[in-house]
Point group: C2
Amino acid sequence: MEIVSELLSGDRRALARLISMVENLEPGAKKALSELYSYTGNAHVIGITGPPGSGKSTVVDKLTLELLDEGKSVGIIAVDPTSPFTGGALLGDRVRMNEVSLDEDVFIRSMGTRGHLGGLATKTRDVIKILDAFGKDFILVETVGAGQSEVEVVKAAHTTIIVEVPGLGDDIQAIKAGILEIGDIFIVNKADRDGADNTARELDTMLGMNQEEKDWEPPILKTVAKEGKNIDELNDAISSHLSHLKETGGFEELKKKQIRDEFLDIVREKIYSYTMERTAEGKIDEIVENVMNSEIDPYSAAEDFLEPLEEDRKD
Amino acid sequence: MEIVSELLSGDRRALARLISMVENLEPGAKKALSELYSYTGNAHVIGITGPPGSGKSTVVDKLTLELLDEGKSVGIIAVDPTSPFTGGALLGDRVRMNEVSLDEDVFIRSMGTRGHLGGLATKTRDVIKILDAFGKDFILVETVGAGQSEVEVVKAAHTTIIVEVPGLGDDIQAIKAGILEIGDIFIVNKADRDGADNTARELDTMLGMNQEEKDWEPPILKTVAKEGKNIDELNDAISSHLSHLKETGGFEELKKKQIRDEFLDIVREKIYSYTMERTAEGKIDEIVENVMNSEIDPYSAAEDFLEPLEEDRKD
C-alpha cells in the first residue's frame, strides 16, 4: 500500500494519517498493519502509569527531552481510558506544545476510549507498531492509573514505570497487587515534598513482600520531574532494564508473550467484526427475536451462530 | 439435569452448588443454564453502584429488610471487580450476617474477578439467571464504582440505582457521563451530613444538562441508610420505575437489548474457549512461533485461525 511505503520513507503526514485510520477502524488499516509488521521490533516501548496528579506527563516530557539530547527519536502515546476523546484534542497536548511537541523528532498522540476498553488496548498496540515501523527509537505509552486499564495498556511495553507521589495518604496501600507486579521501575515523583522517603520505604516493603522470585529487582527512584531532577537516573534505569532483558533472554520471552496476547486480541476483534457484519445483515435481530419468544435459549443460539468454528474443531 | 430440577424445586443447596459451578466454569454449567433459561424472567433485577464509602451495602441491606417485610424474597450479588475473591469469603458477607443473611428468604453471594472483567459480567448475569429461576422476587446486584466495571455489571439490571454521598469534594464532578446515563434512581446517602442538599442540587443540575430526552425523570432521594431513613421512599421509587417500564413498553425494549448483549457475550466466551482448547492442543504456540520468526504477521495468522468462520460468511 502506498501509505505504508510513505510511512517507511519517513513521511510524517502518512504517519498521522495511518494512525487516524487505525483509530477510526477504517478499512485498509489492518492491511497496512499487516504490511508494515516486518518493519517493527526496533523500538524500545516504555509504559508509564500512575494515579492522576502524580506528574506522569511531566516525567514523560522530561524523559523525552533527555532522550532527544542523546539524539534519539521519540513517539508519545497518551492513553486516557476515562476520556472519550481521541486525536489531538486533549488538554495534555496543548500543555505540552512548548515543551516537546514542536521538535521534529517527537510525535505525540492522545487516545481515549471510543468503543470499549479492549479496543483501546488493541489500538494502542497498533499505534505502537506504526511508530515503531516509522523508526522511532523510543515509544512512551502514558496511561492514567484507573484499575484494569493500565494493566491492559502497558501489556505492550518492554519496560513499565510506575509513578507514585508522597502524601496521597492511603494511596500506596491502595496500589493493587497487579500493579506492583507489572512495575519494572518505580518512581516517587515530587520527591521534594514531605513524606517522599516514607513513600519510597513503603514501596520497598511492598515489593519485598512480593513473594515471586525475580531476577530483576525494580529500582525505586526519587524524582522531581518539574525540575528535571533525577530524570537522568531514570533514563539509566531504563537502559539497564533493557540490557537486563536482552542478556537474560527475558526479552525474547516477553516478545513471545506479547505476540501471543496480540494474536488473541486480533482474533477477538475479528470475531467482533464477524458479529457486526451479521448484525448489519439482520441475523442478530432474528436470533434476539427467537430468544425473546423462548424459541431458543441464548446459549444454544450462540452455539448455532458459531457452528462453523465448532465443526472445524471436531475434525 | 438433576441439579436444575432440584433448583426449581427450591433446594437451596442446589442453588449454591449451581452458582459455584458457574463461577468455576465447570462443565455442565452452561448446559444447566440453557435448561433453566425458560424459567427466568420473573425477578426484578436492581443494580446498585456508587463510590467506596457511599454506604451502598447498607442501602442494599435496608432495602432487603423492607422487601422481606412485604413478603418478597431477595437475592443479593455483591460484585467487586477489584477483588480477586469469589464465594463467601468477602468481609461484606460477614458484616451482613446479623442483618439479613440468616433469613431464609435471602441469598447472598460475593463475586470477585477470577479472570477478566468481561468474564465477571457474564458470570454475574448467569448468577442472576439462577436466582431468577430459583424464584427470587428481587435480585440486588451491588457493585463498587470503579469505572468501566459498574457499567458492565449493571447492564443486566432493570433498575439502576446510583448512590452518592455529600462531602466527597470533587466527586460529583468526577461522575462520568456514562454513569449519569445509566442511573434510574439517584440517592444521596448519609444525608444527615453537611452538604447533602448541595450534592442533591449538583446531581439535579448535571442530570438536567443531560441533553438526551427521556420519558423517565430519575428521582434524587436523600437517605440515611444506617437509620433506615427514606428507604421506603426508595422502595416506592423502584416500584414506580418498574411500572413505568412496563407501561411504556420500555421493559420489552430493555429485555431485547439485554438479550442481545447477553448473546454477544456468550459468543465471545465461546470463542474464548475455542481458543483455549487450541492452546491446549499447542496450536497457538505454533502460531506464535511463526510470528516470532516473521513467517507470518499476526493479522494474517488470525485470519487463518478463524478461516472456518470467514468461509461461512462468504457463502
